[in-house]
Point group: C2
Chain length 410, copies 2
């Protein structure tokens, strides 16, 4: 008998019918002999609706009140799913994040877990009951309700699997993690296994699920994750530690991301402190800078380009314009027509030719590279947004990731 933490997202609990399906899934898991802790998100689009309500009553809603408001969504879902379980004869109890023992800092809308004390969940489990826990929520050291942010339910599930000593299953509307977006590349393959490091890079490059923060938590605490479909029983993708005994696949996935923009400051004096001044200024405005590239200096002058989320472009542009004179830049330009294509694979560490193949493949397809950034297990290239999907397709094929016509997963 194992303990399984099963997390179902908003789509999986969007209406009473879906909730009954989740309850049926849990009942079957229990019949197989496993103990279950269930984590649920708010129903369907409810979080968006609550945010919209808030925007109608206040221009700048306070974080404490936003958290009180938004967490009502998961609270509803836990109660309804518990009822659906009862109707199948499964004893179950709903728990808010606070009742489940999630103690957090006081950083509203983005609270961090300080400690998990799941005493009440253990009690329920010992009594043969299924605890149904509201995702993405806890109580702060100041005794206020806190919200972990969007996608925080994955983190709740991982943290509970760690605290209670169990396996973590993240149920989503896709059947696992794919070598690339199947909507762009129909020949994309589901990965049977991917390492924490690779998954983090895939998340950072724009892979939408699972939530990056949950993967980080799982990696730190060595909690294996199983990402799988809420609609079928087929195995999904296991996210786990790298197995040194196992030959690493060279490339695990190709990710395209069109959500960023680029700012360039040209002809800066090439002396210490310039970049620091610029990026300190951006950080002070909460601009999330992603890639940073500084070109080779010629004659004492240099250019700096960086990418940032399109939403942050106005603030990023403002900071850059304001600092341009002070740091001696000639000109500031911005560009929101870019796309980033990234290759991720633990195996590339021992295959030095990967970067060359990337550049050659893109060149052979007339796709121009505007920026390059690499880590030990990732290569990212900025291209025109219009070329992005094509870049993903040709790289996916060039690295042998396309599914054979016979199908099958790696």
């Amino acid at each position: 008998m194992a303990l399984v933490v099963q997390k179902f997202g908003g789509t999986s609990v969007a209406d009473p019918d879906r909730m009954r399906e989740v309850a049926d899934h849990v009942a079957r898991t229990r019949r197989r002999g496993d103990e279950v802790v269930l984590v649920v998100s708010a129903m369907g689009k409810e979080t968006d609706e609550l945010l919209h309500l808030a925007s109608q009553v206040s221009r700048a809603p306070a974080g404490r009140e936003m958290d009180m408001l938004i967490t009502a969504g998961e609270r509803k879902a836990t109660a309804l799913v518990s009822m659906a379980l009862h109707d199948l004869g499964v004893a179950a109890d709903s728990f808010t994040g606070s009742q489940a023992g999630f103690l957090t800092d006081t950083n509203h809308m983005n609270a961090k877990i300080l400690e998990v004390r799941p005493d009440r969940l253990r009690q329920a489990l010992n009594g043969g009951r299924v605890p149904v826990v509201g995702g993405s929520q806890g109580v702060s050291t100041e005794r206020n309700v806190t919200f972990f942010g969007r996608g925080g339910s994955d983190t709740t599930a991982v943290a509970l699997a760690h605290a209670l000593g169990g396996v973590c299953e993240l149920y989503t509307d896709v059947s696992g993690v794919f070598t690339t977006d199947p909507r762009v590349v129909p020949l994309a393959r589901k990965l049977a296994r991917v390492s924490f490091d690779e998954m983090l890079e895939l998340c950072a490059c724009g892979c939408p699920k699972p939530a990056m923060r949950a993967v980080e938590y799982a990696r730190t605490h060595k909690v294996p994750l199983h990402v799988r479909s809420a609609f079928t029983w087929e195995p999904g993708t296991w996210i786990d530690e790298e197995d040194p005994m196992m030959e690493q696949a060279m490339i695990s996935g190709v990710v395209g991301d069109a959500s960023e923009a680029k700012i360039t400051l040209t002809n800066l004096p090439d002396r210490p402190g310039i970049a620091g001044r610029l990026f300190r200024g951006l950080a002070a405005r909460d601009v999330n800078v992603d890639m940073i590239v500084q070109n080779v200096s010629e004659g004492g002058a240099t250019d700096i380009s960086f990418t940032l989320p399109k939403d942050d472009l106005p603030a990023g542009r403002e900071v850059s314009d304001a600092l341009a004179a002070e740091i001696g830049a000639d000109r500031v330009t911005s560009d929101d027509g870019i796309g980033r294509v990234s290759l991720v694979g633990a195996g590339m560490k021992s295959h030095p030719g990967v970067a060359a193949t990337v550049f050659e493949t893109l060149a052979a397809n007339d796709i121009n590279i505007e920026m390059i950034s690499t880590s030990a297990i990732r290569i990212s290239c900025i291209v025109r947004e219009a070329d992005l999907d094509r870049a993903v397709i040709v790289l996916h094929s060039a690295f042998g990731l396309d599914a054979s016509l016979a199908g099958g997963t790696r």
Copy 2:
């Protein structure tokens, strides 16, 4: 500077516009120099919607989960109203029932308050902030979320006014307590003042607002209530202790109620224990018996009639049919076409002719009386449901309650 607990019902916080109006009302109260504690219900029809959702996932939802579900409604409202207050520059904090210090028994869907420890509200008040408290909710001695039942927000407000030492204002969609239902009798008058005892009788006779339980709490703890309109600033009705120095009005109100049915058991042996056996059986099935009348015995046999809510009629009929043979009844009949008209007034204690006037007035208008029940300050008559509105109108007029054409309240 006084402390005022202001309670706004679901209609008053039904949408963002109404919430802003409530916030404006609170801001004005504060500018007058008063401290305010706000109690809010769930938005508009939200409680009904949550109940409907529950009925879709479960045939018989568990009380613990119903309470978790339903209290999410008030939670949302407290957060949104707090945000609306912030936008007017009023410092405010939302509080769940648990955070506000409502400790209750474990009787879900109908929890009773055991203790109120409003430490966090006092702290907020001392910091110059407005606490916005979710109505009708608390936390049980088993640390589960509890709901006081429909209309429980009034009780929350009264309990806070008592615990914090303040005045209690209940804002509704009517402008106070009337001598009768203005929809039935356009000449109904608003009462400036009514005693706790009279208000309790009015509630018991079908007057929908304020909630009877809140009036009981206020009466026990001597907390004056002010029932007033959420849409105007005009004074409403004060509910307070009877003032022995003041001449009591003979009749404070006339209430019609068509929500009950009647069961009659005929030709019972007139001996001790029969009625006890019957009403114990009804109580065991949670049938809420209201009026009970036993006719004068003739030749050792008697008839018993009682009224009960129409919803309880099937269960009441079942119990009566099952016991009929055992207790020796000839026949069981039921009737759901009845109406009850009630007169309430503290002054009738010293005016012995009231009952006679009631019977004469109804007879003069060809309205037949089927059952009569009285207390020190109330007379109720069961009539045909078809005659009910007419009975209210003629009694309202006969006791001089009709507003003069010049208008004005008592």
